[in-house]
Amino acid sequence: MDFLQQFCQQTLNGLSLGSIYALLALGYTMVYGIVKLINFAHGDILMVGAFVSYFVLKQWGITPVTLMLSFLPAMLFCLTMGVLIEKICYKPLRNQPRINALITAIGVSFLLENGARVLPFIGPNPRVYPTLPVVNYKFFGINISQVQILVFVVAIGLMLLLNYIINFTKIGKAMQAVSFDKGAAALMGINVDRIISFTFVLGSSLGAAAGILFASAYPQIEPYMGIMPGMKAFIAAVFGGIGSIPGAVLGGFILGVAETLTKGFLSSQLADAIAFGLLILILVVKPSGLLGKPMGEKV
């Protein structure tokens, strides 16, 4: 019973962590689906989102209401940033070999991290992210904190919203059309550039939200905080099948659970090794990922 309880507890923790990975992984997978670029700067969007909400909460004070309200400025700031990054850094490289944009993405990532470090009001030192007093609820011997509830509610809510946008709105269907065939989409009168911008809008807002949730769960923020969750979310996206939206969600949850179970039962030091081991395993066994379609070269 004790083992079972701990197993359930760790799984719950993992699902909570995994939903943050999933939110972030969605940004990787959507951008990849549309412009075939691994946007390595995406993890740093999480950091920016966390900092924006940090400053907002400093101003307003932390209450459940201000915490929820702080999503708005953080998401707005990050989506603007995402669109600008695409327009300035990636768009001019769209017809160049793919590796050019990839290297640029890594450069943008360094720029964001170190840019934040030199900004006088951010700086290199970690800060304590404001949190609400911890409240734990107990169900059948399993603890669930109000932060975890917040993470679940926000993450699942945003995923449902995203699902609605992509599958039931005109612009969402246009996104799918563009990701399938840009030229044919343009011939339908779809403004491909605008759809690409919109993809960055969606991805970056989800990234910002993931940042707030991540900071609420691990309340210490600093300019490099986005690297590890960014890497894990990238793995989650590849694991689930890069370009596949359900795949990113599934991959995020699996990665989160794998991480907490390893921490709970094997060793905390091994947790990251297991995550990266999973990536290698999936690349060997099923290179297109769990839900990805095998992609032959298009003729």
């Binding site: 399938f180 339908m188 403004n191």
Partner: protein
């Protein structure tokens, strides 16, 4: 309606079109025929804005298309059924048609246009919620044409509509093209199946290695010795 003058297109340093000029008048079916690699598809891509034009003019309803973005060109009423159909296999039949009507805001008229597409292609109605990738080749071609009609085009560019289809279906598709034209839509048709194309066209241009080498009335060209030898198998 469409006037192309001295069109030059390059792929890198390779010249694909040499001062191609032709004209499509309102209500006509005009066909561009020629062998593989003659530049037929390039002409259509240049008109639709999918490849950059080095020099020359493309006038559609008194507007210059050479520097216009592809999605703007569609809004002017010039639609393009691309080679190989290029339907969105990851969307349903219905969603593909919706994408065809992407630029339109007149919801009511769009609804009646769906009905028109369904009367023309009853098969599409049967398969409305099926993924487009699961359709047969002929059905995909019908979807590609139906999708284009959803934008209410004044001029339709058709690129190899007969490609990869069984002979019976080819006839069906060409009948449909004739019907669409009879309903008031002008058509510029690119075909390797020169015989079929000439049989429904009003006028024709023959393209050879990026140049217009012959032009004239479709009937006359179909009877001419040169065309017979080169494109109609004697």
């Amino acid at each position: 309606m469409l006037k192309v003058e001295n069109l030059d297109v390059y792929y890198g340093n390779i010249r694909a079109l040499h001062e191609v000029s032709f004209e499509v008048k309102k209500g006509e079916i005009v066909t561009l025929i020629g062998a593989n690699g003659a530049g037929k598809t390039t002409v259509l891509h240049a008109i639709s804005g999918l490849v950059p034009v080095r020099s020359g003019k493309v006038d559609f309803l008194d507007q210059d298309l050479t520097t216009m973005a592809p999605h703007k060109i569609v809004q002017l009423g010039l639609a393009h059924v691309p080679e190989g159909r290029r339907i969105f296999a990851n969307l349903t039949v219905k969603e593909n048609l919706e994408m065809g009507a992407y630029t339109r805001k007149d919801t009511k008229a769009v609804k009646s246009d769906y009905e028109q597409v369904f009367t023309r292609f009853p098969r599409l109605k049967e398969r409305l919620n099926q993924m487009a990738g699961t359709l047969s080749g002929g059905e995909q071609q019908m979807l590609a044409i139906g999708r284009t009609l959803m934008s209410r085009p004044k001029l339709v560019l058709m690129d190899e509509p007969s490609m990869g289809l069984a002979p019976l279906l080819v006839g069906e598709i060409f009948n449909i093209i004739k019907e669409i034209n009879a309903a008031g839509t002008t058509i510029l048709l690119v075909e390797q199946n020169a015989q079929m194309a000439l049989s429904i066209a009003d006028r024709a241009y023959v393209l050879e290695t990026g140049r217009v080498v012959l032009q004239g009335d479709a009937k006359t060209l179909a009877d001419s010795e040169e065309v017979r030898k080169a494109y109609l198998g004697g």
